[in-house]
């Protein structure tokens, strides 16, 4: 759809307060756990306590004998089909083998939670423990310890290549190598995962905290071999998702128990269960080399990325492709040899987390820019500037960029702030050293399918039915109705939203991939436009005016240029109901798949940005060199996401993302020990930033001069980008203070002390380029 409209708009661009704000703030919101169906059973899963082993037997007799226990299920009681987004590798309950600590081996359903918990403790699981593989490097090469019955632990192997990389490397002015390692982070939504299954004719229904009810329904239909329509997924209010609620979670187990007992079954994770059996952001290893000329222009790049998938693939296959795609950063590089791999390990499966692969890939690509600048003795901002990708260039897979590249505009705003901060006085007695850094990135707007229905009622109010899920961004609850109101010439409060599941709305591919405002929004706008056309046609008949001469505004249908000639939309709608039929339309949207040219792609699953967005973050840090402690003092976040539909919501997205990014950079680290046990699966040892740990001012700036050609009102995606840059910006600021930056995340006090020690262990602080750096290895091809 084209969206070259320039406004002005009555609703779009206004500051809108979230429609669900009051009920959320006053505690009246109903979450999945709050809904207790009559006769509900409480489900508790029995986890494997070892990371790897042969399942020799399970004795459920003592659990079954407990008064109040209704049923105990194990693998032999359920289908042997497995599930998974790309690889069907995950059983409902472990069958023959266990592959990670926390994997469900059985499930108890009882009439009270306390009984179910006690009974779960009475299930006797006999496992012959075997040696687990928990380190992805080891998993990559091991032929002995295999997580699945395959001859390798490598689950995904992707190549993107273009140009004659070898020739460029052989003749380049310089070759610069950067290697980083990143850690796991948990989505740490406030509402732990929860699902209730209940019997329904021919199938079952779910009440589930999920970001993607239609995806859950489709996968469950396949798993249980049921017609899709016999499964309903209802989504009450969600207490955060961040990618952690895209998957089936414990829906298969709850559904299996409901099918076995004919009763409703609820599973609500404890915090510990949630932290240790979720799908955290994957740990990874990124090795990157660039061949550059003397000006810092990047002529060719090799990159080798390894992602730790954990015990099951989930959506890691596509994340591997994303990681490979983002190896260039927002820079034009004409010769590429990029490989992405994912490996199984005997650890909790990893998966999507807001901006999947983004934080580590931005960290690697931006550290590489700084390394290049250091080796060549150039200003890193200037190196960036000489390499930024823009309109008419082709991205890594050969996708033509059809929007202006605005990373430079974003960076100029950041540079002005860094300059101002550098000149500010430091409080007397504050001996911490100041560092200033920035990072640049681009990101995609996922254009996966959505449909939405808009119906205009006889009274001139409208109902928008969307299968989209409100996960806290306000895009569904607030922005969508306002966009529909804009198209129909109504006040936003005249558009009523119906959403929250699969029953009352057509298909939507979920709240993820920075797509909701864009793609779900497009479907809603298309439906609204079709409804507007029906209204114009009806009014045309009544007013005897060409429909093309009619506009809908402020609740009326008016003749362009003669607003006194017109009728209320309510009158027209009522007339249509009597004469031509109900006023209703469904919009369907899927982004066009633009051609990709000039790259050789093997196994790549992620090929296009769709509508690219451009970003730069800047930061001022204070470093306590004696303890390694880093405090973030000031932050500026500049984003080009096209038109901003709701400035309040957009700012909230940026601030939340920056805080989440600071947490990833400095304090959050989901640690797995060498036995595959997560050692800090709770909210006191897994250190989310508190309000005391983030800068009092996070300045948010939007570059609103580069609207999308295809998004609603010119909007692009914003959900993910704010989280992917802070670590790289803080790394750059550390280099500003120390002359070196850590190559291992997180950048916590421990890591910073080690980085300083490593720097100081090199006796002569040599010329640029000779700082602590791993020796030049060959990037594996």
């Amino acid at each position: 759809m084209s969206a070259e409209e320039s406004g002005p708009y009555l609703n779009v661009g206004n500051r809108l307060i979230r429609r669900d704000a009051a009920e959320r703030l006053t505690g009246h919101t109903t979450y999945a756990e709050d809904i207790r169906l009559p006769g509900v059973l409480y489900g508790v899963l029995v986890p494997s306590l070892v990371a790897a082993g042969r399942l020799r037997g399970i004795n459920v007799d003592r659990a079954v004998a407990l008064d109040g226990v209704v049923k105990v299920l194990t693998a032999k009681d359920v289908t042997d089909r497995c599930y998974g987004n790309y690889v069907k590798d995950q059983p409902i309950f472990a069958r023959d083998r266990v592959r990670f600590v926390g994997e469900p081996v059985a499930m108890v359903a009882a009439t009270s939670l306390a009984i179910a918990r006690r009974a779960a403790g009475l299930v006797e699981v006999d496992i012959e423990a075997t040696t687990p593989v928990v380190d992805p490097r080891e998993a990559l090469t091991s032929a002995e310890v295999l997580v699945h019955d395959r001859d390798t632990n490598v689950i995904e192997d992707v190549h993107i290549s273009r140009g004659d990389v070898d020739a460029v490397f052989d003749t380049a002015h310089a070759v610069v190598h950067t290697e980083i390692e990143s850690h796991r982070a948990h989505q740490a939504y406030l509402e732990p995962r929860a699902v209730t299954a209940a019997p329904a004719p021919g199938g079952f229904s779910l009440i589930m905290s999920t970001q993607q009810p239609f995806g859950v329904r489709a996968q469950l239909a396949e798993l249980f071999d049921l017609p899709t329509g016999t499964i309903e997924v209802r989504v009450p209010a969600i207490g955060g998702g961040f990618g952690g609620k895209l998957h089936l979670l414990f829906a298969p187990q709850a559904a299996a128990m409901t099918l076995a007992t004919g009763r409703p079954v609820q599973i609500v994770c404890s915090r510990a269960e949630d932290m240790t059996t979720g799908n955290p952001r994957e740990n990874s290893i990124v090795r990157m080399s660039s061949a550059v000329d003397e000006s810092g222009r990047i002529l060719a790049r090799r990159c080798d990325v390894v992602l730790d998938a954990g015990a099951y693939a989930m959506d890691t296959p596509v994340l591997t492709s994303m990681a490979a795609f983002y190896a260039t950063g927002p820079y034009r590089i004409d010769a590429l040899d990029i490989r992405g791999r994912a490996v199984y390990t005997n650890t909790c499966p990893t998966g999507s987390f807001r901006g999947p692969s983004g934080p580590q890939m931005v960290y690697a690509a931006e550290a590489q820019i700084e390394d290049i600048a250091q080796q060549l003795g150039l200003d890193p901002a200037e190196v960036r500037r000489r390499n930024f990708i823009g309109e008419g260039d082709r991205g890594p897979t050969g996708e033509l960029i059809t929007l202006r590249g605005t990373t430079d505009e974003c960076m100029r705003v950041v540079e002005s702030r860094l300059q101002r901060w550098r000149q500010a006085d430091v409080a007397p007695g504050d001996h911490r050293r100041r560092g200033y850094g920035l990072a640049c990135a681009w990101w995609s707007t996922l254009g996966t399918p959505s449909a939405a229905t808009v119906e205009l009622h006889e009274d001139g109010t409208a109902t928008l039915s969307s299968g989209g899920t409100e996960i806290g961004t306000g895009a569904i609850s607030t922005a969508l109705p306002s966009m529909v109101a804009e198209e129909l010439g109504l006040r936003p409060d005249r558009v009523i939203l119906k959403s929250g599941g699969t029953r009352d709305a057509p298909y939507d591919s979920g709240s993820r991939g920075s797509r909701t405002m864009f793609a779900t929004g497009n479907a809603a706008v298309l439906a609204a436009r079709a409804v507007a056309e029906q209204i114009r046609n009806e009014a045309s008949r009544l007013l005897e005016v060409d429909p093309a001469d009619l506009v809908l505004r402020e609740g009326r249908v008016e003749v362009k240029g003669a607003p006194e000639t017109g009728m209320t939309i309510a009158e027209v709608s009522a007339s249509a109901h009597l004469h031509s039929g109900p006023v209703v339309a469904t919009g369907r949207y899927r982004a066009e798949l633009a051609p990709v040219e000039g790259s050789e792609l093997q196994g790549a699953r992620f090929l296009r940005l769709g509508e690219p967005t451009f970003h730069c973050h800047g930061v001022e840090i204070a470093l306590d060199e004696e303890t390694g402690r880093v405090d973030v003092l000031n932050f500026v976040a500049v984003h080009d996401v096209g038109r901003v539909v709701n400035p309040v919501g957009a700012r909230g997205q940026v601030e939340g993302g920056v805080v989440q990014g600071i947490g990833y950079a400095l304090t959050e680290n989901l640690k797995t020990n060498d036995q595959g046990v997560i050692v800090n699966g709770n909210f006191h040892d897994y250190r989310l930033p508190t309000i005391a740990d983030v800068p009092p001012n996070i300045e948010t700036v939007f570059i609103e001069t580069n609207h999308s050609h295809t998004g609603p009102f010119g909007a692009k995606g914003l959900g993910e980008p704010p989280v992917i840059l802070p670590a790289a910006a803080i790394g750059s600021a550390l280099r500003d203070v120390l002359g070196v930056q850590p190559y291992q995340l997180p950048l916590d006090a421990d890591r910073v002390v080690l980085t300083i020690a490593e720097r100081d262990s090199h006796p002569v602080p040599g010329p640029p380029g000779s700082t602590a750096r791993p020796p030049e290895p060959e990037v594996e091809k």
């Binding site: 109040g68 306390a114 303890t627 400095l666 304090t667 640690k671 250190r687 005391a692 006090a749 421990d750």
Partner: protein
């Protein structure tokens, strides 16, 4: 339907009844409940034990200063009251009290609870050791005083017998000043990765007595005598402080765990010691005795 047995809840309003209840059968003592309630819910504390709530025994609360300078803190005094007390100037114990948990935790949690929980990482304990405080244990058969440094026997373990109650923390009069500092990854709602309390007595510009105590550096809070001894006799100039601070490593035996690494703890301990000694010195010079 059979639920497991759970102990009874008792809330006596006087000490003798309270001590009688403790004497009768194994009991969980409830003050603020900020640890106990959570630990019981998690099954880490035996749920069949009775709970004896001490909050109605008013003798157990309050902070008072005797004419001779002896400070007495009731065991059920909240951490918040201690942190904000006007009775004494800021010192290592009040510094620690002001850092425990979040505001809600401090409003509810008590100094006695913090001590009897005996976490190696507890924030008030180094202050108790550095102040050379005596801990008063009462039972139906009498009371005894245990010095802070002899009170803790391991993580979560103390010399308190099941029939005894910690009633008062008695801090001797002092001409000196003290301070407590800790290292955390977060600036709020965090547990000490390591902590250091320092107490200095100064006469005519010279250190005449000193105690340094550490948290999260061993299985219990510990005194660091080498560091303290090195301060005595010096004028507390920077080189002397720096050299003494380094000696906390003679005592510290920190571990690698989910909260921090042994190496980083060893890096940070002398830094905190140096800074805590510096703050104590500044307080002493400003006349903030304690």
């Amino acid at each position: 339907m059979s639920e497991p047995d759970v102990g009874a809840y008792r809330r006596p309003d006087n000490l003798s009844e309270l001590l009688t209840l403790l004497d009768r059968r194994p009991t969980s003592v409830l003050a603020g409940g900020t640890d106990l309630v959570v630990m019981r819910a998690d099954g880490m504390v035996d749920r069949t034990q009775d709970i004896v709530d001490i909050k109605d025994v008013s003798d157990l609360r309050g902070i008072s200063l005797d004419a001779d300078g002896t400070l007495t803190i009731g065991a059920a005094t909240s951490l918040q009251e201690l942190a904000k007390t006007p009775v004494i100037p800021p010192n290592a114990i009040t510094d620690g009290a002001s850092l425990v948990g979040g505001w809600q935790t401090r409003a509810r949690g008590t100094i006695g609870g913090n001590i009897c929980r005996a976490s190696p990482a507890a924030d008030t304990l180094p202050g108790v050791l550095a102040a050379d405080a005596q801990l008063e244990l009462a039972s139906t058969t009498g009371t005894r005083l245990v010095p802070g440094h002899a009170f803790f026997t391991g993580p979560g373990r103390t010399v308190r017998k099941p029939n005894e109650l910690l009633t008062r923390i008695i801090v001797p009069a002092s001409l000196g000043a003290s301070a407590y500092l800790r290292f955390t990854y977060r600036l709020a709602m965090d547990l000490a990765v390591v902590g250091v309390a320092a107490h200095l007595d100064i006469k005519n510009g010279r250190c005449v007595a000193a105690r340094v105590a550490l948290s999260a550096a061993a299985a219990t809070p510990v005194l660091a005598p080498d560091a303290a001894d090195a301060l005595v006799g010096t004028e507390l100039d920077e080189p002397s402080i720096e050299a003494a601070a380094q000696l906390v490593l003679n005592t510290a035996t920190p571990i690698d765990d989910g909260r921090g690494s042994r190496a980083h703890r060893r890096t940070v301990l002398p830094v905190l010691a140096k800074r805590a000694i510096g703050i104590a010195l500044e307080r002493a010079r400003e006349g903030h005795r304690r």
